[in-house]
């Protein structure tokens, strides 16, 4: 019978036994015997070949494995648990995220200088459109950086990265480091809601969302700050009649519209509105959910939003509000960066923030703001060595005050010292965050990737009336039912 080595060689068209021998001899293995031996390493050889010198080959394989493993960990330092640091504190975030890299660099040059000297900061950025694909590929090769922007559905409990043990349990890790109390209760509450009771993300930012309004226009039109949906509609009617655009939003950045649907749902159905959908206790096609989409479509039908909304980009929408061309805008507290910039804010002190109004007869609490903890950023447990631990401890301790002082932005960490001379509106938002006892998520927070895409992709059609509210919610429910 022809040996397997010979058959293997003949598959490639090398001919018979002679060719197999020739193939082996190319690598300097010698003659016919060596060819048989070569084949036996891969389990191709016959019984005799396997039994000939097994001990020798096991020794070769073991020494190779040891060499590879010894090379792989070079440059790292091991903690008590045996976990090694990388060569740097590698951080992978989206290109659009400018504030977190800037603040980490500021910490590396300031309050975390010791940690940065021991483990230099290495920031990598990738466009948000590609980053989850990149994270998947890196995770597949077990090559995730120390800190990375994992998508919500990946790092959630039961998500692919959590299941694979590629996301650090920050609740335990920060407790072990003695800094778990450095995350604010509000941020903890948001994280637990978002990630099914787990804490897989560092709260680099903390933002509440609501309706920003122009106090000057409201005063001129004798409009009181609306507390109910009915009052908001009445205000919009009055503004429209006076020739003022009531609301602006960006069709190009469609979440600025779809968040209206979520906010309405949380006011009408209460805190668990979207959690019930995730847990299959309710469907987006249920009448009370469709009613929320219908309420937002009605705003579009009454032409309350800026004309030509599909062409309005994010900057233009902000600009319309901050130059007084629109009276109201739904947005997060990150808008303060623009509000506090005199070059961008042309209405000065006229900017005010109101919570999303209550829906008449609804179960939601007007003081429960939609909140988020910024772009999700997880820690790789395989690179959580002592130097990375020191970095994370330093971040948890210093990030909040530093980011407030440097850029006037809020984070989910506790401030290690109060920041003085805050602009009045910033101080007001800070108070609202501090007073907030409960928060709600946003419309797409618990969606999978496909539903997330479609919630934004189709919302302009919903607002302009070319898609019915029932079809919009039906499409999203279908995404939740069928997509991964």
């Amino acid at each position: 019978m022809k040996s397997k080595a010979t058959r293997l060689a003949s598959l490639g068209g090398w001919g018979g036994r002679k060719s197999a021998t020739r193939l082996a001899s190319l690598g300097g293995w010698g003659g016919r015997k060596s060819a048989t031996r070569l084949a036996s390493v891969g389990g191709w050889g016959g019984r005799k070949a396997v039994l000939r010198r097994p001990v020798f080959w096991y020794a070769v394989l073991c020494s190779l494995a040891l060499t590879v493993s010894a090379c792989g960990g070079s440059g790292g330092s091991a903690g008590s648990s045996g976990v090694k640091d990388g060569k740097a504190l590698s951080v992978l975030v989206t290109t659009e995220n400018t504030s977190v890299p800037a603040e980490l660099k500021a910490l590396a040059n300031g309050k975390c200088k010791t940690e940065a000297t021991a483990l230099p900061l290495d920031i990598q950025q990738s466009p948000s459109a590609d980053i989850q694909q990149k994270i998947q590929l890196l995770a597949g090769q077990d090559a995730l950086p120390a800190l990375f922007a994992g998508g919500n559905s990946f790092i959630d409990k039961g998500g692919d990265l959590q299941k694979n043990g590629q996301v650090l349990d920050l609740d335990k890790a920060l407790t072990d480091l003695g800094v778990n109390d450095k995350i604010t209760p509000a941020a903890k509450s948001t994280l637990k809601q978002l990630y099914s009771g787990t804490t897989p993300s560092l709260p680099f930012q903390y933002n509440i969302e609501g309706i920003w309004y122009n106090k000057k226009i409201f005063a001129e039109q004798h409009i009181a700050v609306p507390k109910t949906w009915g009052e908001l509609l009445a205000a919009a009617d009055k503004l429209k009649a006076a020739g003022i655009t009531p609301f602006t939003a960006s069709g190009a950045t469609s979440w600025t519209i779809s968040r209206w649907v979520g906010a309405y749902l949380f006011r009408s159905l209460g805190t668990n509105a979207m959690l019930d959908v995730k847990e299959h206790k309710a469907k987006l096609t249920d009448p009370q959910y469709v009613a929320a989409a219908q309420a937002i479509q009605d705003l579009g039908n009454k032409k309350y939003f800026t004309d030509g909304i599909s062409g309005i980009d994010y900057d233009t929408a902000n600009n319309q509000f901050l130059t007084g061309k629109a009276a109201m805008m739904y947005m997060g507290s990150w808008l303060l960066a623009l509000v506090n910039d005199p070059g961008k804010n042309k209405i000065g002190d006229a900017v005010g923030l109101m919570p999303f109004p209550a829906v008449e007869g609804g179960k939601g609490d007007i003081n429960a703001y939609p909140a988020n903890t910024g772009a999700p950023t997880s820690v790789n447990p395989k690179l959580f060595g002592p130097k990375t631990q020191a970095w994370v401890k330093c971040i948890a301790t210093n990030y909040a005050s530093d980011s407030m002082e440097q850029s006037g932005t809020f984070s989910g960490f506790v401030m290690d010292h109060p920041v003085k001379n805050l602009p009045p509106l910033t101080a007001d938002v800070q108070q609202r965050i501090d007073k907030s006892t409960s928060t709600v998520l946003w419309f797409e927070a618990l969606f999978n990737n496909k539903a997330n895409q479609d919630a934004g992709g189709y919302v302009v059609k919903l607002l302009t009336g070319s898609m019915s509210a029932a079809d919009y919610m039906g499409l999203l429910q279908n995404d939740l039912d069928t997509a991964q």
Binding site: G311, Q453, Y458, K461, T464, A483
Partner: protein, 294 residues
């Protein structure tokens, strides 16, 4: 030559590298894609065999149907436009402008070398509605017509997309067809003229039949390129509003890389391959006769 081509080793040496390259770049990914279409999952979770489930899903997925019909509609309209406009320009070059056509050819060809993203930005500004009117809406306003928010509806977005792609690519087809027209012997044209043919009759009965081979090539180029449209749609409308201007390629990209549904994405890719193959074979079949031999 015969002795070389009769030698199997020589044939292997000559064909081998190209064959290996073709197999590596074309055949392997196609087979790989087919294998992926039988699975669901991703690189972190791993892949699970689902058999024909992705194919069944494709068959009953309204979004896939919409993308398929949009792709066919787009390919038909754009191919017709490219060939008709290109042929009209080529006739203009040969019979009207003659030797003075160089400058016009250069100008018409210029958009071909522009990056698609730049052209898309240009056209989005042309057809802009908010926050300020673009030139098209300004003209409509001067003429007393209503403003049009072109990108808020599928129909008007499609029109802008077609106009943009025709403007961007007609120069290429004009030059391609021009090359076919200049190959027609002057003697044939002169003979037709002596026989009394002129104008439209000359074009219909002499020029078109004699340039059919290059016309068929242009149709195959154009239809296949249109079936695979991706960059111009992504840059101009991002497939929206909703999925009204989403072709199969963009649907495949979104499914595979944004929704990370690689198995279903591969199934869509196979559909695109199948459609391109069927269209090319159909066009070849209809031109099986060797037109160069009359």
């Amino acid at each position: 030559m015969e002795s070389v081509l009769g030698n199997k080793k020589a044939v292997a040496v000559l064909l081998g590298p190209a064959l290996i390259f073709f197999v590596g770049v074309i055949a392997v990914p196609v087979v790989w894609s087919f294998v992926y279409s039988l699975y669901t999952g991703n690189v972190i979770r791993g892949f699970t065999f689902v058999g024909a489930a992705n194919l069944t899903r494709l068959w009953s997925d309204p979004e896939a149907h919409q993308a398929f019909w949009f792709t066919l509609k787009y390919a038909l309209v754009v191919t017709a436009g490219q060939i008709l406009l290109g042929y009209a320009l080529a006739l203009l070059y040969v019979f009207v402008l003659r030797r003075a056509s160089t400058l016009v050819r250069t100008m018409v060809f210029f958009p071909v070398v522009l990056p698609t993203v730049s052209v898309s930005l240009l056209f989005s500004r042309f057809f802009q509605y908010a926050p300020t009117d673009g030139p098209i809406n300004s003209i409509l306003k001067v003429l007393g017509a209503q403003h049009v928010d072109f990108f808020s509806a599928g129909g008007t977005s499609f029109i802008v997309l077609v106009v943009m792609d025709l403007w961007r690519t007609q120069g290429f087809y004009a030059v391609l067809l021009y090359a076919g027209l200049v190959e027609i012997p002057d003697s044939a044209i002169d003979a037709a003229r002596v026989d009394g043919a002129g104008g439209w009759r000359l074009v219909r009965h002499v020029v078109v039949p004699m340039s059919l081979p290059v016309l068929f090539s242009a149709v195959i180029f154009s239809f296949n390129a249109s079936l695979k449209v991706f960059d111009s749609v992504l840059a101009l409308t991002r497939g929206g509003p909703g999925s009204d201007t989403t072709p199969l390629n963009l649907f495949m990209y979104k499914t595979s890389f944004l929704s990370t549904d690689y198995g279903y994405g591969s199934t869509i890719a196979l559909l695109i391959t199948g459609v391109c193959l069927v269209v090319t074979l159909a066009i070849f079949r209809s031109s099986r006769r060797d037109l160069t031999k009359g």
